[in-house]
Symmetry: C2
Subunit: 388 residues, 2 copies
């Protein structure tokens, strides 16, 4: 299969789920000051919107996620990235809720981003696409919901960057968000996380096939650089304990080490696999854009440096979830959000889940997370009178 990103995508197509195209009358003004006069929001929905339009749940995806939260990925054919969480009878029950998940602006699965065609030039945007922020992503989602006729969200949720968007939703549109479940996230990106992102970006930009971001012109893509970026990032998604438990020092060849630079240890082969499979489904420029959006995220900074001010007067009910072994967005960062919400007199519950699986726990089979989300949503839905 030819790498997907050698064929710039005219979005949306059959592979991209649903999409709304916005024209100059619904231009998207971005935090950087630039405006997308013509732009696209690609999304998927699961379940049915009820007559009262009161059962909509918005799911926000993480850095390398997309709109395929609960259905097979069109490129990899793998189950949706939150297939364990979203579906009939699952914690986010599509028999009861109408679930929407949109590809973020700046992404590479059909929403406007650097891999998409710039209508002005007929060529992929590449680095001419404006830089976006988490607030821009949320602004675009709000316009998509307007277009879909959904005024209020029963819940907004997501993990990692999805959690950042969840917080931004409550800050930007508190009147539209009945409840919010930010998972494994932070109200600002830490110095260490910025540093790891910068390593990934440097790995991509060091690849000559990156070609200053215009790799569509040379028919190649910076696969090696992007794979290195993914490998480095992937380590941060796990935990030392999980790596020890899954791989330890187990060799590929039980006969012994090779005294060479091919993978000797299973953990090396695993990382190679993570890098290789990622480049088939993700655009390198989009990786630059979205990591930058996460780096820029600092909700308090937008409110005079006081995080509680971001939530002043907010009536949204919050449920915050963190994982004990998550060192990318550790519990302390999640607790800071809870403290700020308390200071803003918001309604908030906080759950720290014991697991050795690190940051990626939010994507995995974590019964306590499922039970927490299920119980919280049932309570919110019951309050709203949403039928079972």
């Amino acid at each position: 299969m030819a790498p997907k990103f050698l064929r710039p995508l005219t979005a949306p197509d059959a592979e991209k789920g649903q999409a709304v195209h916005f024209g100059p009358d619904r231009a998207l003004t971005l935090d950087c000051g630039r405006t997308l006069e013509s732009w696209t929001a690609a999304y998927m929905t699961y379940g049915r919107l009820n007559a009262e339009r009161s059962n909509a749940v918005l799911i926000c995806h993480a850095l390398t996620g997309d709109q395929f939260a609960a259905s097979a990925h069109p490129v990899t054919a793998k189950p949706g990235w939150w297939d364990t969480m979203v579906g009939p009878g699952k914690p986010i029950d599509t028999d009861r809720f109408f679930v929407i998940c949109a590809n973020v602006v700046g992404g590479c699965m059909g929403s406007s981003g650097p891999a998409e065609i710039d209508p002005a030039s007929g060529q992929p945007y590449g680095l001419t696409f404006p830089l976006v922020t988490v607030r821009d992503m949320v602004r675009a989602q709000a316009m998509l919901l307007d277009a879909l006729g959904i005024e209020k969200l029963l819940c907004v949720t997501g993990g990692s960057m999805g959690g950042m968007q969840t917080l931004q939703w409550a800050a930007s549109y508190p009147q539209r968000v009945v409840s919010a479940v930010p998972i494994a996230c932070a109200a600002k990106h830490s110095a260490q996380n910025i540093a790891f992102h910068e390593v990934g970006r440097q790995a991509i930009m060091a690849d000559p096939d990156w070609h200053g971001g215009a790799y569509h012109l040379n028919g190649r893509q910076p696969s090696k650089g992007l794979a290195v970026a993914r490998m480095a990032a992937h380590i941060t998604y796990l935990s030392e304990a999980a790596l020890q438990r899954k791989f330890g020092r187990t060799l590929q060849n039980p006969g012994g080490i090779s005294f060479a630079f091919e993978p000797d240890f299973q953990v090396e082969s695993y990382l190679h696999h993570q890098g290789l499979t990622f480049v088939d489904r993700f655009d390198a420029n989009s990786y630059l854009y979205i990591t930058r959006a996460m780096d820029y995220f600092d909700l308090a900074a937008d409110h005079g440096g006081v995080l509680a001010e971001a939530f002043r007067g907010c009536k949204t009910r919050f449920c915050i979830i963190s994982f004990t072994s998550d060192w990318l967005f550790p519990t302390v960062e999640n607790k800071r959000i809870a403290h700020a919400l308390n200071a803003a007199a918001a309604t908030v519950s906080f759950v720290e889940i014991e697991t050795d699986r690190g940051h990626d726990a939010f994507l995995l089979d974590e019964p306590e997370m499922f039970a927490t989300v299920r119980g919280f949503l049932n309570s919110v839905a019951a309050n709203l009178g949403v039928a079972r």
Copy 2:
């Protein structure tokens, strides 16, 4: 200045300190099964060997260190990497002790390694140099000490990979090691550490200028890949708290973010600087070799899987030092060594030092580490009757 590694070095020269050249009568047989018939050990000494030859202290350097522990680096002109620890009146007092520090085999500061000339071909070894292990490094050091007429070491010490060598010294040559101070290390490299090393190696090997390791042939070196490797590794040498304290989210330009991919945050500029300065002083192939040696290190595996067996009957006195915020070689790994030494009925003391500076604390101004090393060495020296 032309990058140093474009001019393959005939080792040793004036820049490389002292050196011993070994011929076929003192061939170095390596763990991989290959033998270096002709090889070089480059080293530095500080202080004077006493008449009894009882005051020798061997310092083992870390991954990117070298023999210039206590004197200016010939390429960077910066003070020696352990200048705070070693010198007249310092914890490792060169008024009292004779300090030896050798560049490891596989290194790139004059000892035989991939950047040096293969006497058989007259060309740099590149990847034709055999892979080495920590045990090989120690075996080469032992042969160097033989050549220098030093039978017994008052102390062997070092941090990180230097600590691994220290442990290997006590295991391979217990009768030659009166005392040992392994700092911030482990008896085996963890899965997470192997994973980070593999990211660095992949970054180097992804650089087209690496040229299959034969970059001396194209007059270039894989600087971009090596810089990425260094940047990723450097994050692991610090701690989240230290990065937060030193940089936080402070911007390069107080006026605001740039909405571009140039460094916006000071932590990014800092990392860039670390990457750029490193490539001027270090050889990319050597980085591959030495990281591999660390990955392969597993002292228990050489003794039937039981670490205590590595030290059975060992009369060496140990002082183990770890740092609270070191997540590369956390205290728990250092404690495992102490437990194994206890199980082997060896004499061991263990000190965990409170600091937020992460793994790199062993290279920094850490008064408690200095006091510990000073006190321990004084005690060992007094027992041996080494004059003040």
